[in-house]
Amino acid sequence: MSRAAAFSPALERATVLANARVAEGVWLVALAAARTASSVEPGQFVHLRIAEGTDFILRRPFSVFRAGGGRIEILYQTLGRGTRALATVAPGVEMDLIGPLGSGWRIPEGAERALLVAGGLGVAPLGMLAERLARDGVAVTLAQGAPSAGRLLARELFEDVCRRTAYATDDGSEGACGFITMLTPELIAADRLDVIYTCGPEPMQRIVAAQAAEAGVACQVSLERLMACGVGACLSCVVSTVHGRKRACVDGPVFDAADIVWEPAADPEVRS
């Protein structure tokens, strides 16, 4: 199991390079952030300050979707007031971020085949991962679920680096009609997988974790929690695990699925 040596996080002043809508309610912002871009590992995130002043007292955590050439990209959904405000920020504006943060995806030694399962914005932390796996010669399959064809995200990137892609949409406008978890058992069975990576709504991740456990395949999940500090100090972001409560911001957001003690599905913070 390899996990890159943690690069210590720092406060970085980033400049917005571009900020555009890529699908209904989904935007991509590119930021000039050289330090983070050169040190971030797949699955890590940045903690972004939305605006000066006290209107947004909490930073917002976002996965780094892609990084390179001194810039990072964040794929985000406009959900609440912070992300809606973010969508109005124009190129040239400076924003500060803390990054890179968190423990990212781990690539098992000698892995040859991997399955990525994404629901909705769950693709966000998988972009860098797919590229890294492909570069390392791992055969990657992506299974992506979305409300409709137009909401399938970053198809180009994934179709470029993945051996195979499978889609499911709620309305059947592309791929299978229904949840992506209807396709995953077959994808798991079809292949001798070394690892499954998943991100998306927590109920979905839970189902994927169960399917992986049943098939005896290692599985990693990326969990979202409300975060204040982002650096492990405040205990806002705890996840129940078999080893006790762990902090999503430093011990995660990526966890071994087998360690998670899943919480009741009605958890109001799980929304995306």
Binding site: D55, L58, R225, V231, A233, L235, P268
Partner: protein, 305 residues
């Protein structure tokens, strides 16, 4: 910029400057070591520590509110033994005074932690948290009546030789009377304010935003209440006051000192700017220098009325 003497005294404790961290917002300091040279700080105040490990409350534990936030962490901590072995051992070598925030469900619980910490040289002072709104027993209950407050302070005072700071709850009719009660029992200083008890409801789900329902409000939103209480308490007691509640920058820190605080603590601001403490120390020095104030301690109580 002329040199400003930034040292302040909290009873027997001399600090290199008046800016400390607020309990529960800075971990044990280690988590912020990438952003702040801890030896720059007046003191590190640790998160609350109890005899046994506490699991804290369920998630969600925080919510954003206008110019503030609610938290219901619930004093999750690994217990005093693990705390001494890990956090304190790490902090011991950092050249910064360590103030340990002490919590309990019962008077005996507070006493047991204080007794255990008596053996640790690295502990510069205790901060008795009798004001946490996020636990069902103990916590705030002690801090909202004079008798409760006096009782726990008396019991802890009997077992500790360290400077004893008592952290007061703002959720009371008359904070001055509580401050006087703990002073009478031998508190060396009081710190205030802890969070205001608050609540937020998600109008989408009709559920409280915090799993626990209610939580503690912190951040700039509460600053006017905190400044008022510091002002009231500072003129009523003889012991030093450590002020906190929504301090975001050096001007805010100065405001608390003018109101009567001898030192200040920075909480929620750490989440906004992980180097907030250092920025505030630097800003406070500049604030004094620009006004020809030679010692930062001159600010304490310098309000003109």
């Amino acid at each position: 910029m002329s040199a400003v003497d930034m040292r302040v005294r909290i009873g027997a404790l001399e600090l290199r400057n008046p800016v400390m961290t607020a309990s529960g917002t800075f971990g044990s300091g280690r988590e912020y070591a990438d952003f702040v040279a801890l030896s720059r700080l007046g003191a590190v105040v640790t998160k609350g520590v109890s005899t046994e490990p506490w699991a804290g409350n369920d998630s969600p534990r925080i919510a954003e509110t206008p110019s503030g936030m609610l938290n219901s962490i619930g004093l999750q901590n690994p217990g005093v033994e693990a705390f001494c072995a890990e956090d304190l051992a790490w902090l011991a070598g950092r050249d910064v005074p360590v103030i340990v925030n002490v919590v309990g469900h019962t008077t005996e619980g507070y006493v047991a932690v204080a007794e255990r910490l008596e053996r640790e040289d690295a502990v510069s002072a205790l901060e008795l948290n009798i004001s946490c709104p996020n636990v069902d027993e103990g916590g705030m209950a002690f801090g909202t009546s004079c008798d409760g407050a006096a009782q726990v302070v008396r019991a802890v005072r009997a077992v500790t030789t360290r400077p004893l700071i008592v952290k007061l709850s703002p959720n009371v009719t008359d904070i001055v009377e509580i401050a006087r009660a703990v002073e009478a029992e031998g508190a060396d200083a009081v710190s205030l304010i802890n969070t205001l008890l608050g609540m937020a409801i998600d109008t989408r789900t009709f559920r409280p935003k915090l799993a626990r329902g209610v939580g503690g409000l912190s951040g700039p939103a509460i600053r006017p209440v905190a400044v008022r209480m510091v002002w009231q308490v500072a003129r009523a007691v003889g012991v030093p006051v450590i002020g906190m509640g929504g301090i975001m920058d050096a001007e805010d820190a100065a405001e608390f000192m003018l109101a009567g605080a001898s030192a200040v603590a920075v909480g929620t601001a750490n989440f906004v700017d992980p180097a907030a403490t250092v920025h505030i120390i630097e800003g406070l020095e500049r604030f004094c220098a620009e006004r020809g104030i030679g010692r930062v301690a001159e600010l304490t109580g310098a309000i003109r009325e």
